[in-house]
Subunit: 156 residues, 2 copies
């Protein structure tokens, strides 16, 4: 089990486009179950797959249990058991010694680019890259489980 | 992924008591989620633990995905995320070349003893041990996920 402490920001798409970027991973992920208290996620990341159980979010923190599983199992559970899913490209970018995960969403969430930084404590200080803008930590609309059900293209 | 084909029977408790039995495993199991279409189960079996995702039952068959996980993770998810749980002793008994799993339930399900046989096909023939009685395959009251919510002691 891990405690995941994350902060989440929107990305300035113009600045992002000008950035030199590494090759992204392709992520397909879906949810077998999701409510306020927990989420059960399946993710295929290129040629690897994982099942992840997350507890409820308190502030920026959330308990997370993640296990590698066969890709074929994940694909079949996504096809047969997931209630919703989404796809995105993920870029892992190191900035000022910290890892940023930048998700460029696809499909019905196309147009949305979100950057997350994982922290060691809630009060850890870090440097903001020039290409991040508004903080959206805690905004439930940006939870991936929500984006899979109520995608960006349907937002007002 | 496996397709699980099972038949389930009640056990004659007098005959069962007279039987010479192996040492059972102690199972503690609970459900993070359970409805008609799928079940997500955590199980601690003595010093091992598993997460198991099952699809809906069609006849005697059900898709099943099972992964070994750390016992400490399973215990924490059972404590923090499970909506219901139960405990039982499990006896693995080979009879006429087939494995029978006999569950002697504890706690609020005390008094219930159920035997399951796993088959290779739905029409596979097998020999019934003298200590099994009524078949209860497909009777939802005997689903472990149901017994964890509506235990045997509350039955009419």
């Amino acid at each position: 089990m891990a405690i995941e402490i994350e902060r989440k920001f929107l990305v300035d798409k113009e600045k992002w486009q000008q950035l030199e970027k590494p090759t992204p991973m392709h992520l397909r992920q879906g949810y077998i179950f999701s409510d306020e208290s927990k989420t059960i996620r399946l993710r295929i990341a290129d040629d690897q797959a994982f099942i992840t159980i997350k507890g409820s979010t308190t502030g920026m923190s959330r308990s997370e249990f993640e296990y590698a599983i066969p890709v074929a199992d994940a694909a079949q559970m996504l096809d047969d058991l997931a209630v919703s899913e989404l796809e995105k490209y993920r870029y892992n970018i190191t900035y000022s010694g910290k890892l940023w995960e930048v998700d460029v969403f696809l499909g019905d969430n196309q147009g949305l680019v979100v950057a997350e930084i994982e922290l060691d404590s809630e009060d850890e200080e870090f440097e903001l890259p020039l290409w991040v803008t508004t903080e959206v930590t805690g905004d439930k609309r940006y939870y991936n489980s929500k984006l899979s059900i109520h995608p960006f293209k349907n937002w007002d």
